[in-house]
Symmetry: none
């Protein structure tokens, strides 16, 4: 939600019938306020991590009162979840859109994937950091929520999910005899997702660390489907 541009005419086009806020701040449109909160949270979480941020800061950064924050999210965990979920979804879309013909050579598919992820990350650096950065650690939900057990799985689990697809694809390739049979798809998938997330976050933090192409080429070369291809 933080970085605009990429997704074209999204929500900011408050339909004429909604009376664009009178140029001033308080915007009566709940969706707008919620977006402002999510964006503020994204920025703060990206900068300071879940524990390094408090609800007052988020509210202040969003330009609203604390109470308003709690009108939109049950608690701090919920915003975090929202950011992570949004990001996962956005990433999924980006990757899907970037995917070439399924019949294309494997390397081309892998490169498209990596390129897709990187592009998304460039356009949504903060969201990417929140979802996949070092701070995307499992958070202890508040005692109350913990008791009722109704908090969604923490971000790591979500990451695990995106691992699944990779794992399946690798298993197919291995079974098709294209990959080294000693490669464990589950391990390899986990490995790739971890390296990709880490490398991308690291590079975003200081893009002078490597060229964009270097990042892509290297990740492609290390992708199990390429790295462990049978010679």
């Amino acid at each position: 939600m933080a970085q605009p541009s990429s997704t074209p005419g999204s929500k900011q086009s408050t339909p004429a019938r909604k009376r664009a806020a009178p140029a001033g701040r308080p915007s009566r449109d709940p969706a707008v306020v919620r977006r402002r909160l999510t964006e503020a949270a994204t920025r703060r979480f990206a900068a300071a991590g879940f524990e390094g941020v408090n609800s007052n800061q988020i509210a202040r950064e969003a330009g609203v009162g604390v109470g308003t924050f709690y009108n939109h999210f049950r608690d701090k965990h919920e915003v975090h979840q929202a950011v992570v979920l949004d990001t996962l979804e956005g990433l999924q879309d980006a990757v899907t859109r970037a995917a070439p013909d399924a019949a294309a050579p494997v390397e081309q598919q892998v490169r498209a994937l990596v390129e897709g992820v990187l592009s998304f990350a460039e356009g949504h650096a903060d969201r990417f950091r929140v979802a996949f950065g070092a701070e995307a650690a499992p958070h202890r939900p508040p005692r109350s929520a913990r008791a009722t057990g109704d908090v969604a799985q923490p971000s790591r689990a979500q990451v695990g999910y995106s691992t699944r697809a990779t794992e399946r694809r690798l298993a197919q390739l291995r079974d098709a005899g294209v990959l080294e049979p000693t490669l464990d798809p589950a391990v390899a998938a986990r490995a790739f997702v971890a390296m990709q997330n880490e490398v991308v976050c690291w590079w975003l933090d200081d893009p002078s660390r490597a060229t964009r192409e270097g990042v892509i080429e290297t990740l492609v070369k290390l992708h199990p489907a390429i790295a462990a291809a049978r010679k």
Copy 2:
């Protein structure tokens, strides 16, 4: 899960002249107390993450008073640092000892490295988790320390350190024409360290997820020196 006997003549060798107190508990030897604190901290950090633990818990788990904790460490960050540093050191030792002749074929060297890391992790699961697990996130030092800027760099930087050696080795190999020239050593090193840490932590959490050999084989195959070897 604390530090067993693998690292030989380390601290546990309480010099004979300072025999543990009669019944065993109150141990007057500062080094022993410190070790007990470090171990307690390791267990707690591994289980609950930096933010999920408080100094009283650590002290209680170590069987000493809170005050004693602060006699041995300036603050909570310091114990954490100590655990991380110890682990890095131990890991370095383990890897060094496991390394074969420098003239051995690359794959053998890589396998020895991976095997060395995995063995260390198995013997020091909690320490490994603290140093490399998801919770090993950068911690916000307390406001006071932040102001004076005199807290050591957070764990991530330490991880970066262990990346350095890998990076240099890869650069050599690439310059020697053994690796694909498009591979960026810095990126590749980062990628490998990330995948290795993540995979090992993930596997330690539930060893039924893969066989030991599967983990090793797969990491070896994905190591840049193997994966990006020129065909």
Copy 3:
């Protein structure tokens, strides 16, 4: 705990070995601090009711920091419980001590009981108010505690308990044919306890409302064992 004198040489006699606090405030003796907190809480609860008081106020009134309050009690409910329980216990003692020979005529026993309760209430007005006043309403325990269900029964239940003895005694008397058979012991017991508590609290609030004797005489006359005695 508020009103001294009655219980003779109780806790305030800090044994010489404990080093009487250096005349100053901070008293290192936990029992003393806890007593100060309980007393402060008693005063505040008596004056403003459970919901009308906050932990900071209690701590301030006790002359300690908030943290100290929470070092001694898990939460606000716990102090309240402590006050109520202490009071019930004290009342029980007082009544027991005041009870005449079991062979004495019923009226004498009843009078001794009422007189005992009233004396206790006079000596411990605030505690009595907290335990039996209008504010002694069931309090919603904090969400966390509610989940784990480990909060003791709220004061009302405690009141119910003291009702039990009365009920048993009335049942005996009725079965012995001394009381009107249409009298329901459970109802009567409940009724008597309620009237006694209410009347005493009301009278304590403004002793000019009735003479001490008037209160006692009237309560005795209305006690089921007297009021419903068979003519």
Copy 4:
């Protein structure tokens, strides 16, 4: 549990000219909205006590917006007052209607009174609980109101009011030489009202605790006019 039909021509008779809105919900009639709010508040207060309920809940339960709540009542205390006052009034009516000829024997009058109160309570359990239950505690008016002193007396005072009549009647009887002269009418009145309220609430909470007749018989026997009648 809200107010059913027992009290005849009261408010529910929305004048024909103001028919409830077509489908039934949004009702434009202020009196209807207010009634819905009062009823909702009654249910919530009865269930959770004054402090256990918040204005949003009342509004939601009434099916209106929070704003509407504040259009009808100055604040939360005002609805509570309204419920209590309504109840007192209704109870007064009920009792008056049930009262037999003033020349009837005292016991018959007392029984009619008790029976009247009990019947009213059965028909308006929630209102009775709100007005007389344990939760009917004095509420701390909001700071602002407290300063200006313009909030009506809390419920207890109201209860005191209904005590007045009893007190006068008892004084008459005593002066007429029918009652023991040592009985203090003020104390006795207070005692009776308290016991009656408590017993009725207790019985309503679980009617299996006693038979309806048992409750009535016992309360009658314990009424000062009977209990303290001169033999």
